[in-house]
Amino acid sequence: MSQSSEQFGRFVEPSGNSKEYLTLHFSPSASARQERWQNYGLSADFLGDYFSNFFPGNQISDHELSQKDTIKSAVSFIANELLENSIKYSYDCAQFPITLSLYLYEERLIFRSVNCAEIAVAARFKQFIRDLLAAPDIDVLFTQQFEKTAAGSGESCMGLLTMICDYGVELSWKFQPIDRGKNTIQVDALAYLDLTKFDNQLFSN
């Protein structure tokens, strides 16, 4: 069992020169998971609404959506998926809240979700990440996973693949042992959304 931290992908911690950032904390044991689910969606929508306000509302070329509407929807989708993943795989221990942060920079948005997970759960997730990063063609992996999911064969990580393939997101992770719990590990996920690629990624069909 490794006691050192492991990184996957280009994990670069958000720097202090963000134009704007927000962090939301969720206490896993505050109430039943199902009851809290709706609040998570509202939190993702809040981040979408808040950060879209920094972008212009006029339409871009012949597209139906303005940059503001696009940011709002993209942030809401990505934040919701990161939060859902954190909640699904987190280990319910009150001293480790789930956090979701969003940092605004001139050319990108960085999402960061942090939660703690059981080591065995994290190990399965790491294997998916290895497969993801080793895939010669992410589009082929997407189709394979989509077929598996459509056939009803269990966990698929389609949320992560959708972020990458449909929203142009770059993902990276850091896994760090937690001193206080031998069976748990901290999972730190970063999602980079490159704002300079709006025209050729977010709007292309």
């Binding site: 509407d69 696009t70 859902e84 999911t149 698929s156 959708t162 709007f203």
Partner: protein
């Protein structure tokens, strides 16, 4: 008319229009939670030779919901008897970005964004 309605979303089958409508914000907590909507879609498809799923007012669908749609598409693809089409909106980003992926499963699927 079979209808599921909550504060966040509604789903119903209109037999006269051979159309299932999903509208609102759908972010249920996993594929199991989508079973009632899946059942509604499958029941509708059984009752018509040509079924349209109207999504143009469905503003949000999480990845579990997209997975549910993929499962529905494969069930219809394998049954062969029903012609399936989706109608969406160019003003809803998830539809612009992700709806086309369903054609990976069923290349002759008709998807129209209005």
């Amino acid at each position: 008319m079979k209808k599921i309605e909550t504060e966040d979303y509604k789903a119903y089958f209109d037999p006269e229009a051979s159309q299932v409508v999903l509208a609102g914000f759908l972010r249920l907590s996993g594929i199991d939670a989508y079973q009632p909507i899946m059942d509604l879609l499958l029941a509708a498809a059984e009752q018509t030779e040509s079924c349209t799923v109207d999504l143009h007012e469905l503003e949000f669908l999480n990845s579990s919901g997209i997975s549910m749609l993929s499962m529905f598409v494969v069930r219809i693809r394998d049954s062969v008897t029903t012609k399936l089409s989706f109608v969406g909106s160019k003003k809803v980003l998830w539809q612009v970005r992700s709806l086309k992926n369903l054609k990976r499963l069923m290349p002759n699927l008709e998807i129209t964004l209005l």
